[in-house]
């Protein structure tokens, strides 16, 4: 108790230290005077009396010091003094302060921003309640796209009923495409994107509606009134954040749909499950309606019971899988999912693939921070040279070595704090910008923000940086010989050979780090170029796609042939009208565009050949005649024709990979698939009329899988994307194409006219994002290294002014002096480059997985980056070298 009281008193005393010091001064003066009086009374002379009195006090300064130590917080007091002194010093040297502050701000800012990304994607739990319990249930990665990553409704029911490890299992319909919802408010229909989820989706994730309610089982029953949940963003954008929206009814896809709630802003479906896409509304999926027979359509997400380990969940899933049926009406499909039901933590599913990229990114900014620290160290050392005398003087006056190191560390911390504050602001801007890059296909990006962790990280790296860059100069300076420093006559003295060696070591380190960054960036850049040059199987330029609304519904159409006829008529009209537009080269329709969603329908196989036990089938696309030409995909054989109707022979086209695979089993002359029939699991045979190029269906940097194309006149498409190939920029046609579609169908929403090039850009946006970041870090590193080299060389030149003057007086030519300095520069740079290249070779394995078509030991990249670095080094050494060669011997010799 009394100690707390004393602490308060000490704090109070610290605040009132000025009057208390005056008090102490008066007290000590009285003490001294009384002692002198006594001594005089004992018969001493006044001067002797004073001397004895001072001796018995034992040093006034020590008395003050001890008193203050006990009374208040003297360390804090010293800190304040140091701070004041530091700020004064920095204020007087603005160019140094600005340069140092900027270097640190860039390095720390980059570090905070990357930390925030890493924190959001890797470290922080997903934005759901007890997110560690959530698992993504899917087969191990396969070639057949989404269809193999999804389950049928029967399989879902069986899994949900048969497992005990889960609190519940939910899922969503995986094949919704962008713009699948058209909102009719009276004018032109407004396109939006909705996702069908199983009714327990939000309960399972622990997401509550911000207004209204989330789905209940009743919303997903047969015959239930249509309801919708609005996402926060759409509610704000489309409905002006109407506070009374709940209960209102709107025409969505031609149905009167009631809004039952608005989701919170923190829930972003796209950010978590479909990076780079925007979801506007969520609708309930009726598991017991038509989806029953649609095959694999549901992704599965489970929430494990508390205490259940992932291992147990995996084991149980493996046990239940053989009992799951693709369709309960077809017992032969039971067991199809064997080995294909594997829970992984949801977080791993979402951001696991990015782990490597993020680690590389983190290393890159770490290197930037180190380079910045080395640079600062160098700058401080240069300052140290001019301040050596100041510190020697303080040492001579009694300041302890610790006190001087303390002062220097305070200076480093202040610099670092300036850098950290500016860096934090920089990071705030960067993070804000990144969070709004909706087009980058990275998960959780929109949830990016600076939080307490980022602040903590800032403090941590600021202190770390201060220690790193403050320590070397601090020790150098405090460890110096007082006598030597005082005697040192400044420039021209040779006492600092050791000093210069340290600076050289620092520069070499810097160059080596910059070299590693450059090599990494070069490899990523080259990979990105390779990705852009990939033959996608289609021609992305001068083509665009727009989602087309159509109604091919024919009542009482038993076998669907009437509907197919109607569809055929609709699209023949649309395509002939659109093709007739001036500037349009070709037009065609597909249900799923490449680099987007996809599905599979089983495995058609050459007729009369025993099929091997293979689960995966080719990806299915339903297209119109002319689609291949519109996409720029070449066909061997013939394109579909409108005459391939529902009653005529079933025709398909397949891609080269699939053709090659089938040819391995079939006995086809020359292995040519064209003209041969495929057996299709009980249905009519499929006649291959054409073989087309492999199209990259899921990503640009992966392998193309098997693909099969059906004519939309024979198989029902799942939506329609009209692809238009034009002679000029496709964006110029957006208006006329939409107007044409509107003319034929007033319900056509104002859907986006997407250039196909944009789809490709979207698919590579994640890779581009990382590449750009690493390249900008490498550029920053290069800049800092150049600055470091320049600093050291120009410092050396300044110190050697006299020596150079003498040499020139003795007949050395300007060219000779220049050459010598450039040689010294290049020697440093070369050592750095050699070390950097060595380290890169050793560390290249780290980024090998991120490269595409590039060896991690790509000689061209290494060579060009080394040359670039040497060139920059030569440039930054040339300025001081040029200055040195202009030294006037007489002036140089006279300055001392």
């Amino acid at each position: 108790m009394s100690e707390t009281l004393r602490l308060l008193k000490r704090i109070w005393a610290f605040i009132r230290r000025r009057p208390l010091d005056a008090d102490l001064e008066a007290e000590l003066a009285a003490h001294l005077q009384m002692a002198i009086d006594d001594n005089i009374a004992r018969g001493l002379s006044p001067s002797e009396a004073r001397r004895i009195a001072l001796i018995s006090i034992g040093g006034m300064e020590q008395a003050r010091y001890r008193h203050r130590e006990v009374r208040g917080f003297m360390n804090l007091d010293i800190l304040l003094q140091d701070l004041k002194y530091t700020l004064r010093k920095l204020w007087r040297d603005p160019s140094f302060t600005v340069v140092a502050g900027l270097i640190l701000a860039l390095a720390i800012g980059a570090n905070i921003a990357v930390f925030s990304v890493v924190n959001t994607l890797l470290l922080r739990p997903l934005p759901f309640h007890n997110a560690q319990e959530l698992v993504w249930i899917a087969p191990p990665p396969t070639k057949c796209g989404l269809s193999c990553a999804t389950y049928s409704t029967d399989a879902y029911d069986e899994f949900r009923a048969g497992t005990r490890s889960y609190q519940d299992v939910t899922g969503y319909f995986a094949f919704s495409s962008a713009g699948n919802l058209s909102l009719n408010l009276g004018g032109a229909p407004i396109p939006a994107t909705s996702i069908d989820v199983i009714q327990n989706f939000f309960q399972l994730l622990g997401v509550h509606a911000q207004m209204g309610r989330v789905f209940t089982p009743d919303d997903a029953r047969n015959g239930a009134a249509p309801v919708v949940l609005l996402t926060h963003a759409w509610w704000k954008r489309q409905f002006n954040a109407d506070p009374n929206i709940v209960g209102k009814t709107f025409d969505m896809n031609g149905q009167q749909t009631t809004v039952i709630g608005v989701l919170p802003a923190s829930f972003d479906f796209g950010a978590v499950f479909a990076p780079g896409t925007k979801v506007d509304a969520i609708t309930p999926l009726n598991l017991y309606g038509p989806p029953r027979d649609w095959g694999n359509i549901i992704t599965m997400i489970g929430r494990m019971k508390p205490g259940v380990t992932l291992g147990q969940a995996v084991e149980e899933a493996a046990r239940v899988a053989p009992h799951m049926c693709w369709n309960n009406k077809h017992p032969e499909t039971c067991g199809d999912y064997k080995g294909a039901v594997v829970p992984v933590p949801l977080k791993d599913y979402i951001s696991g693939k990015l782990r490597r990229s993020l680690v590389v990114l983190w290393c890159a900014v770490g290197a930037i921070l180190l380079i910045a620290c080395v640079n600062l160290s160098n700058l401080l050392l240069a300052r140290a040279a001019s301040r050596a005398k100041e510190f020697a003087m303080r040492g001579a006056l009694g300041a302890s070595r610790g006190r001087i190191v303390r002062q220097l560390l305070t200076e480093s911390l202040v610099l670092s704090a300036i850098g950290a504050i500016l860096g934090f602001m920089l990071a705030a801007v960067l993070v804000q910008w990144l969070a709004h890059q909706g087009a980058i296909a990275l998960p959780l990006l929109s949830t990016l923000h600076l939080d307490g962790a980022a602040l903590g990280w800032t403090v941590l790296i600021a202190v770390f940086a201060a220690t790193i860059f403050g320590l070397v100069p601090g020790l150098r300076m405090a460890g110096g010989n007082v006598y030597e420093s005082l005697k040192d006559a400044g420039p021209g003295a040779t006492a600092s050979r050791k000093h210069e060696r340290i600076r050289s070591v620092l520069v070499v380190t810097e160059v080596a780090l910059a070299c590693m960054l450059l090599v990494g960036a070069g490899l990523l850049l080259r990979s990105f170029m390779n990705v852009l040059n990939v033959d996608l199987g289609f021609e992305p330029d001068r083509a665009a796609a727009i989602k087309v609304d159509y109604d091919a519904n024919v009542p009482n159409d038993k076998d669907g042939s009437l509907s197919a006829q109607k569809l055929s008529v609709i699209f023949q009209q649309i395509l002939s009208r659109v093709s007739a537009l001036p500037g349009v080269e070709a037009a065609g329709v597909v249900d799923y565009l490449p680099l987007g969603q996809n599905r599979a329908w089983g495995l058609p196989f050459p007729k009369g050949v025993k099929r091997p036990k293979i689960d995966t089938g080719p990806l299915v696309y339903v297209i119109s005649p002319g689609y291949m030409r519109a996409m720029g995909t070449s066909i061997r054989g013939r394109d579909f024709a409108w005459s391939d109707g529902p009653k005529s022979e079933q025709v398909v086209m397949i891609n080269k990979s699939f053709a090659k695979f089938l040819a391995g089993y079939a006995d086809w002359p020359n292995g040519d698939a064209v003209g041969h029939p495929l057996a299709n699991g009980g249905g009519p045979d499929l006649h291959i009329v054409g073989v087309v190029d492999d199209v990259h269906e899921e990503n640009v940097d992966g392998e193309a899988g098997w693909q099969i194309y059906y004519p939309m006149t024979q198989a029902s498409p799942n939506g329609a994307e009209l692809v238009v190939r034009t002679r000029m920029q496709p964006s110029a046609f957006a208006g006329s194409v939409l107007a044409t579609l509107r003319e034929m169908n007033p319900k056509q929403p104002a859907a986006e006219f997407k250039p196909i090039r944009m789809l490709v850009a979207h698919a590579v946006s994640g890779r581009q994002f990382f590449m750009l970041l690493v390249v900008s870090f490498a550029t920053l590193g290069l800049l800092l290294a150049a600055l470091g080299i320049y600093g050291v060389i120009s410092y050396t030149v300044t110190r050697q002014t006299q020596e150079i003057g003498i040499r020139m007086a003795l007949g050395a030519s300007a060219g000779h002096v220049r050459r010598q300095i450039l040689t010294a520069t290049l020697r440093l740079a070369l050592i750095g480059v050699v070390l950097g290249v060595g380290a890169s070779i050793a560390g290249a394995r780290l980024i090998a997985a991120l490269l595409f078509g590039t060896s991690p030991w790509d000689v061209a990249t290494y060579g060009s980056m080394a040359m670039l670095l040497l060139l920059i080094a030569a440039l930054s050494g040339y300025i001081p070298a040029f200055r040195a060669s202009r030294i006037n011997p007489t002036v140089a010799l006279r300055t001392n």
Binding site: R10, E27, H31, M34, G58, A63, H67, R71
Partner: protein, 119 residues
């Protein structure tokens, strides 16, 4: 020269100050220091200046109080006096010292007859 003086043990100076103030009533820093030097017959090494650290510590703990006054020879000085809490503390500390003294005495007068007393 006198034989080497005793270094003051940690905390002993505070106790000496409290005792001095109990006996002498109100007193300034110089007076307290002189008094301790006299009583200890110059046996302890006391830098008079260190008394001020002790005084501020005791005052912050509420064991002594201070106010400015005038000394015998008309000098302005800060006078300290012990508080009630200070007296209680002195009693406790003095008892502690007595016990410590007894223990030290016993330890230092220990002879080897006690050795091997335990089996």
């Amino acid at each position: 020269m006198s034989p080497e003086k005793l270094d003051l043990l940690q905390g002993t100076l505070d106790l000496m100050v409290l005792q001095t103030l109990t006996v002498m009533g109100s007193m300034h820093g110089y007076g307290i220091a002189r008094r301790i030097e006299q009583v200890s017959a110059d046996e302890v090494l006391l830098n008079q200046g260190t008394i001020y650290a002790s005084l501020v510590r005791l005052e912050q703990r509420g064991w002594i109080s201070s106010n400015w006054g005038t000394s015998d020879n008309n000098r302005k000085a800060k006078f300290y006096s012990i508080t009630a809490a200070g007296r209680r503390q002195l009693v406790a500390d003095a008892r502690h010292w007595e016990r410590l003294k007894d223990v030290m005495e016993r330890v230092l007068t220990m002879d080897d007859s006690a050795e091997g007393a335990d089996a």
